[in-house]
């Protein structure tokens, strides 16, 4: 049982969870067993078709490299709007996700299209630059046109037991983000146990995050079935306690349509069908879209396209 100390800055948590923060124990073996079962659902025919289209609609098409140029981001935005140039039935993705410096380029390329611009901000990926710098970066990304901000949780503070610091920083980021939605990356690969994942998720939600996200994508261990299940259960409990639905973003290591369909089954059966929506579920990925489009083309034409048949961004 953890109680968040609230000082005068408690006002930042208005509307969020304010009671004592209880974090339920998690049994790792059983969690992994359940996640494996859910990810192995047999999704066929019209359900598979719907799942593939839904996965496209829930994708945050991402590029987070030092070599991201305006041209590369423009090409990615074109892809985001029309994932399969040959098939207008494939919907646009939910958002593009870039570094703050590329937000203006993405915003310009997308125009008024219904695709969001998400920016990582706040000292991505370590989150250990000074807090004022992190908040400033968030404000500048929003000013440049980002309507979603992906920050990283302060794992150093979390693992040192300073939940108050973790919560206050998330709350400050939420305030800095203003109208933009706040997606908080837990970086679960660094947290060491499912219980810590659940704790981090609970604190991040209590402090006002609109979405909790698994990973930066910069670690070899990213979004796994058990981690997704652990976070989904935390979201379910938070919604039950506060009435506020928080979104889930699964990022890193999701490359195949089969993985995405497995995650859809896991989220749908844990949180309910209303969570299978771009407003509440995202896949953060760069190469997943290619496989989704290839699978959709196969279903349309009866043959597999070669990877070279798809546009490169």
């Amino acid at each position: 049982m953890v109680t968040l100390a609230r000082d005068s800055r408690g006002a930042l948590l208005a509307g969020a969870h304010t009671g004592p923060l209880r974090v339920a124990p998690v049994d790792g073996l059983a969690l992994e067993e359940r996640a494996a079962r859910l990810m192995a659902r047999s999704v066929k025919r019209e359900s598979k078709q719907a799942g593939l289209l839904l996965a496209v609609a829930c994708t945050d098409l991402t590029t987070l490299e030092g070599a991201d140029t305006p041209g590369r981001v423009r090409a990615m935005c074109a892809r985001a709007l029309r994932p399969d140039p040959e098939d207008p039935g494939v919907p646009p993705v939910a958002a593009v996700c870039v570094y703050p410096e590329r937000v203006a380029d993405a915003r310009a390329a997308l125009g008024d299209a219904p695709v969001h611009v998400a920016s990582v901000a706040g000292g991505f990926p370590a989150g250990l630059t000074p807090l004022p710098d992190r908040l400033d970066e968030i404000r500048r990304a929003v000013a440049a046109g980002a309507d979603e901000i992906d920050i990283v949780l302060n794992r150093a503070a979390l693992l040192a037991g300073r939940l108050d610091v973790v919560a206050d920083e998330v709350a400050a980021a939420k305030e800095a983000a203003g109208h933009a939605h706040l997606k908080t990356i837990l970086e679960t690969g660094e947290l060491g146990s499912y219980e810590t994942v659940r704790l981090a998720a609970t604190v991040a939600m209590a402090a006002g995050s609109d979405v909790i996200k698994t990973s930066t994508g910069k670690l070899p261990l990213s979004a796994t079935g058990p981690v997704a299940l652990c976070m989904a259960e935390a979201i379910r409990d938070h919604a039950q306690q506060t009435g506020r639905p928080v979104g889930l973003k699964l990022a890193g290591g999701i490359r195949t349509a089969k993985q995405a369909l497995g995650f859809l089954a896991l989220v749908g059966e844990t949180l309910g069908v209303e969570w299978l929506h771009p407003d509440r579920l995202r896949f953060g990925a760069s190469s997943l879209l290619d496989d989704l489009v290839l699978q959709l083309r196969f279903r349309r034409t009866g043959r597999y396209a070669r990877p070279g048949d798809l546009p490169v961004h």
Binding site: S47, A95, E274, R280
Partner: protein, 498 residues
């Protein structure tokens, strides 16, 4: 989350179409069910001497699958004599290494044809294909492999003892795990150098008969494994036969009592694996989401047709409401339907008779004013199905809280302290299984020591391993199956030099 949701209706429609899970049935074509099946005696299949047959039905539809020979007393006599001859002339002195080789071969043949066995088991018995594919068939193979390994090492399994086979073993098995129980019975018997007359349950004879084909294909000599299909009379004739040396029975406590009377005073060895009313003990510090999963798995696995099912939930009062809320939500998500569909969680009830029994228990609980929760989803119109059911508001004296329902029905009670939890868990005539759910290691040990049950699982349930002895106390049976203890039940042991 987003400020301007894009195509909300389109996404919601896709979500519903996805979450419905279009039918994904495993193909039936891999199995060829014959219109008629005979008895397997001395390596040959033949009709019953009196020519009687009975139908075996498909629980998911109620349709007849095949007509199966019903063994009478003369057939029983033939089978026991064949087993005796095979033991004396071909099997007893064959040597452990050869028996091991044959059992290993049988295990591999079963693995080779795993899908066929899984589909046949699901068609004949009604259990979900996911379970027959992932649990029944692999575990059956595991039992054969495990005991194959012991066949030439019996002196090491029983240090200081001279281990000799018993002779002819009569084995009567139930309908809830037809193939697994056959393997579970045949493997140790053969590994220890005995021959077998096996009677499968009358509602589920097909996989045991298919296994008999593999036994022959593996090169096991004729007469070592004989299969007598039939109902209660066939089983009664078998255990009453003077030519047997041991009875191994898995089934109801009522029949177990009759068998015990039938073999009393005859010098016939006996193991009984009978009913149960296993309890989950969920403490307030448990990982509740995983406890919910374990309780669901513990009672709804195989439609609750499991002797060691966790059919009682004892939950600490401080978390009882929370636990029940989560449990109901989880049960509402269970998919009941076509057992061959790969996404089915709960399949068909094995027989019309069993369905009537389960309904009678639930009706009685409703009449007594208990709170009964069932998912709203409709059940299939054909076949024998029963919704997963949670009965709460129980005092503990109701029949549904004390008797083995053998169906997808969970009876919920609460407790306040560890002492009370143990007392309530032990307040049953049975003593087969229990599950302890807590985050505290010390509590697991304290509670487990005081539970009167043959197997106690901690933070998990229904985990089976051929190396682990399984069996019950009190009205749940005598003797153990699996592990070295299970081997000893099939051996005549005497101290070396004694």
């Amino acid at each position: 989350m987003t400020t301007t949701p894009s195509r909300p209706d389109a996404a919601a429609g896709l979500a519903r179409a996805f979450a419905e899970y279009a039918p994904s049935p495993e193909g039936r074509d891999i199995v060829a069910i014959r219109p008629r099946y005979g008895l397997v005696i001395d390596g040959r299949e033949r009709p019953a001497r009196e020519g009687r047959t009975f139908p075996t039905l498909e629980p998911a539809t109620g349709d007849v699958l095949a007509e199966v020979a019903e063994a009478g007393p003369a057939d029983v006599d033939d089978a026991v004599r064949a087993a005796r001859r095979a033991w004396e002339e071909r099997w007893r002195d064959l040597g452990g290494r050869t028996r091991a080789k044959l059992l290993f071969r049988l295990a591999r043949l079963l693995q080779d044809r795993a899908r066929e066995f899984a589909v046949l088991e699901t068609i004949d018995g009604g259990k979900p294909i996911r379970e027959s594919r992932d649990v029944d068939v692999p575990l059956a193979a595991a039992h054969l492999f495990h005991h194959a390994g012991w066949a030439d090492k019996l002196e090491y399994a029983m240090p200081g003892m001279r281990a000799r086979p018993l002779g002819v073993v009569a084995q009567v098995i139930p309908w809830n795990f037809p193939l697994l129980m056959a393997a579970w019975k045949i493997a140790p018997a053969l590994a220890c150098g005995n021959t077998v007359v096996l009677k499968p349950a009358e509602t589920t004879p097909l996989t045991a008969l298919l296994l008999a084909e593999l036994v022959d294909e593996a090169g096991v000599p004729p007469g070592v494994v004989n299969i007598l299909t039939g109902a209660g009379d066939t089983g009664a004739a078998l255990v009453a036969h003077p030519g047997i040396d041991k009875v191994a029975f898995t089934g109801s406590t009522e029949v177990g009592r009759a068998i015990r009377r039938a073999v009393a005073g005859r010098g016939v060895r006996l193991t009984l694996e009978l009913g149960g009313k296993g309890a989950h003990l969920v403490f307030e510090d448990a990982a509740l989401d995983q406890a919910v999963e374990g309780v669901v798995e513990g009672i709804f696995f195989n439609q609750g047709h499991v002797c060691c099912a966790g059919s009682r939930l004892l939950v600490q009062e401080s978390v009882a409401d929370e636990m029940l809320r989560r449990l109901r939500r989880r049960v509402d998500a269970l998919r009941v339907g076509d057992p061959l569909d790969k996404n089915t969680d709960v399949g068909a009830i094995n027989s019309a008779a069993q369905l009537a029994t389960i309904r009678a228990y639930v009706d009685e609980a409703v009449a007594a004013g208990c709170e009964v929760h069932q998912p709203a989803r409709p059940l299939p119109e054909r076949g024998w199905f029963h919704a997963p059911t949670i009965v709460s508001g129980l005092g503990g004296s109701e029949r549904i809280a004390r008797k083995e329902v053998f169906g997808p029905v969970l009876a919920v009670q609460t407790f306040r302290t560890e002492q009370e939890a143990v007392a309530k868990a032990n307040a049953t005539a049975y003593g087969l299984s229990a599950g302890v759910w807590t985050d505290k290691g010390a509590r697991i040990l304290w509670v487990a020591r005081r539970l009167r049950a043959g197997v106690v699982w901690a933070n998990t349930f229904n985990k089976f391993d051929p190396a682990s002895p399984f069996g019950g106390l009190r009205e749940s049976g005598v003797g153990r199956e699996g592990g070295r203890q299970g081997l000893a039940e099939y051996l005549d042991l005497a101290p070396v030099g004694g």
